[in-house]
Symmetry: C2
Subunit: 494 residues, 2 copies
């Protein structure tokens, strides 16, 4: 661990290496023996569990239920929805055989060539096809609608360049798949769920996001409209953090899912899908952390308060730990998670550094002088400040402090993000801002995929979204000079 602490690269030195170092050294995740697949380590998984629990409650509070659909999708399903097959990435894991056998030459196991599948199976990259093939049997009448299902699952996309949490071959996510009797209801569902994601990002990850529509080129294959939440990382690059798709009747038509409406007529079912993934872990880490390590919003921190005794000798330790256990009991009664670290084989300075690396929001230290004076040393991770405070009333103080920290982390991220939104009116200015400052750029665009692609090719910036709250504003496209009616949001992105 001492070694691990020393080796944390600074953000300024190499942002990308800083991120990777942090993920590994804080014990969040690591690469596995399988190219592009990560191991999510216990500390990282504990954060993901908190995200899971909070999101799952938000889904249930909005009337959704969970279900589970197969990992495998018959290859032919991918050919059924035209846009889906054209537009969707085809980097998928393909299962062709169903048996191993002992190598006749005695070298372990080989794939049994006789056990070839008649039709190849694809490890789900997303589940619209298999789910709509299933919904076909669940839906006859408007009385069977809406269906509001969510699934927590692993999915696989064979990415060539992978980065822990941000882009991995296998990742964990949830995918909501809903079916509705009317277009209006489906559009409203897609809108509602991007709102759930925005609330989750802001209230739990302490991460401000911009909600908007994707452009035609950036839209999910098979969707009529894709809503997104876009967050800004500390290096000025955007990170798409969640999407919600209005799928129209595309999948219903592809899988022939019709229902009898209230008027007794047959119609195709309207659909949405929406998802967030372990990518949110990457957003969380990159948005708030610093050169000392992780900075975790208290609401997602596996350990919210760590206590470190400063002592000489067994007796002093016992007295200090007794006080700590009293405080810990009070904190636990408030639902606050606490750890007392009384390890005797590492110095307290080492412990301090370790919990800074791990992003524990509040650290409490008690030494002999505190014991005598009825004080404790209280340190907060977000500001790296500490103060001596009375031990009396400490549990209430910490409860409030955790709320302060949650708010402060959000405010800091919001201030940074807002400082990194630049309005530009010429392409030269666009390129200069992108080069010198980065961040989000609000600019006029003529709405054509040609201009969008030209900008992407020349600058690597893409349209992150057309913000839902973008005010109508007449202007001219920075590239073509053609008329535009609102600004759209550009950025380089992960």
């Amino acid at each position: 661990m001492a070694k691990e602490l020393k080796d944390l690269t600074s953000r300024e030195e190499d942002y990308s290496k800083w991120y990777n170092d942090l993920v590994v050294k804080a014990g969040l995740a690591e690469n596995s023996a399988v190219r592009g697949c990560m191991v999510i380590k216990p500390y990282g998984y504990a954060i993901w569990e908190k995200m899971h629990d909070a999101l799952d409650k938000m889904f249930k509070d909005t009337g959704h239920v969970n279900a589970y659909f197969p990992l495998f999708i018959p290859k032919s399903f991918f050919s059924k929805e035209a846009h889906h097959v054209e537009g969707f990435a085809k980097e998928c894991a393909v299962v062709t055989h169903y048996r191993l056998k002992n190598d006749p030459e005695g070298k372990g196991v080989i794939v049994d060539p006789d056990a070839r599948l008649e039709e190849e199976l694809i490890v789900r990259p997303t589940s619209e096809t298999i789910i709509w093939n299933t919904y076909k049997n669940w839906i006859q009448s408007y009385r069977d609608l809406p269906i509001l299902c969510n699934q927590w699952a692993n999915v696989v996309r064979w990415e060539m360049r992978t980065r822990l949490f941000l882009r991995t071959a296998e990742f964990l996510w949830q995918e909501g798949h809903t079916a509705h009797a009317t277009k209006e209801e489906a559009v409203e569902e897609a809108r509602k769920m991007i709102g759930v994601y925005r609330d989750f990002a802001e209230q739990w990850l302490a991460l401000p996001v911009i909600v908007g529509h994707k452009s035609d080129s950036e839209r999910f294959a098979g969707a009529d409209d894709t809503l997104t939440i876009e967050a800004l990382m500390q290096d000025g690059k955007a990170l798409q953090s969640g999407t919600s798709h209005f799928l129209g009747q595309n999948f219903a038509k592809a899988f022939d899912v019709q229902f009898t409406n209230k008027e007794g007529q047959l119609d195709y079912v309207w659909a949405t899908s929406w998802g967030v993934s372990t990518r949110l872990m990457g957003a969380l880490i990159m948005a708030h952390s610093d050169n000392n390590g992780l900075v975790l919003p208290p609401k997602l921190a596996p350990i919210q308060v760590v206590m470190v005794p400063i002592y000489k000798g067994e007796e002093e330790l016992r007295s200090i730990v007794a006080v700590m256990e009293g405080i810990a009991a009070e904190l636990k009664a408030k639902g606050i998670s606490v750890k007392i670290d009384d390890r005797d084989n590492v110095r307290s300075g080492f412990k301090f550094a370790e919990y800074e690396l791990k992003g524990v929001p509040v650290r409490l230290a008690i030494g002999p002088r505190d014991l005598a004076g009825g004080t404790v040393e209280l340190a907060r991770r977000d500001t790296l400040t500490k103060e001596s405070v009375p031990a009396e009333g400490i549990a209430d103080r910490i409860e409030n402090l955790l709320e302060d920290i949650q708010r402060n982390i959000y405010d800091k991220a919001l201030k940074f993000r807002d400082s990194m939104i630049t309005r530009v009116d010429t392409y030269d200015e666009f390129k200069r801002v992108l080069e010198e400052k980065g961040g989000f750029i609000l600019a006029h665009w003529d709405g054509t995929p040609q201009t969008e692609e030209l900008i992407k090719n020349e600058t690597k910036a893409t349209i992150r979204c057309i913000p839902v709250d973008a005010p109508a504003e007449e202007g001219t496209c920075i590239v073509s000079g053609k008329p535009s009616h609102r600004r759209v949001l550009f950025a380089k992105s992960y």
Copy 2:
């Protein structure tokens, strides 16, 4: 639904069809378009979520943490542990390619022949190999031990004959994988976790189980000892419901995982693994249900209390629902889940049958005469009895009733199970009991795999376990006549 209710096969007519009908008609699960893979429907998944939450808490209360390891395992890993490769079933899904492409002939997508993996990947049938390959990097010293990780995941075993929940190609499970500095500690961990499973089966599933060791032939490939919990279904067949393995140093040796012990010497790490799966759903359904449908223990029921208004006209409905909402609020305050079914398009008799099918433990009906007399009609699913009781104090009464029902379901299953354990002393008697009565048979066995196999081939009965609490008892093997020192438990099984 009317149709569904009518079509439920009776247990006596065809037990196997009764089970399958029940799973499908109660909305628990169904077969998917992918052979052997099931869709777990919302009502079934809601039960699994309750199992998940209860087990997860038990794991955490015993010091375990969750993590996540890759879905894919390099083929070569299967050759590393000799017993594992020899003994483990090789029916696995094999990934050979990583890309699809558009069919040049325009017929959808095909597998890109240029995208062949250098080494095939196996979809995990269980994760010992990939996890021990990972643990190698986590363990240097005794201070890194124990590692007490659990994983909630999907796994795939290419079963030829599948049955919903009981045996499916893909299933959901948890797999604990622990690493220890000493043999004693690992043995104790394996023992502790089978105890957790026993407690969970008894307290949550209301399912009595027999804990014991597997015979050498039935042991998990790669384990030195396998502990199991064995439950009895209503048709007299056993169902293995959970296993906990002491793995010795087998995987540590296969993946070269050594550590420096307290004495400063290098040693191989000791291991356990343990798991339960969605198979428990099958056990739950088969153990308690009847010809009217599911019987769910209240602790696992997604809806614990359903209320059905019996009314004529809008006004009566409103008055009754108002009373029900008052009761519902009281119940919810006690943490009891409630549904008020005020649908006006189905008769109440239909609703009664539907909730019986779905196994809702308590049904409360209120009609105009109840309204006038201050009573409610209270029906319990386990006994199919009903009574008129005062509305006054109904929430407390229901709270107690749910506990009664949980206990009664367990007691009934225990009584049945105990009535189905037969001690036999001759092979003729063994065959006769197996044929005429079924259930568990306690008999002397000479301890050889030859005798075990002979019995299996001749009768289809296997040794379910050598019960941990089997008293020492001198006897002679029912087949060979050789000396035996304790009885072992035989049965036909799922």
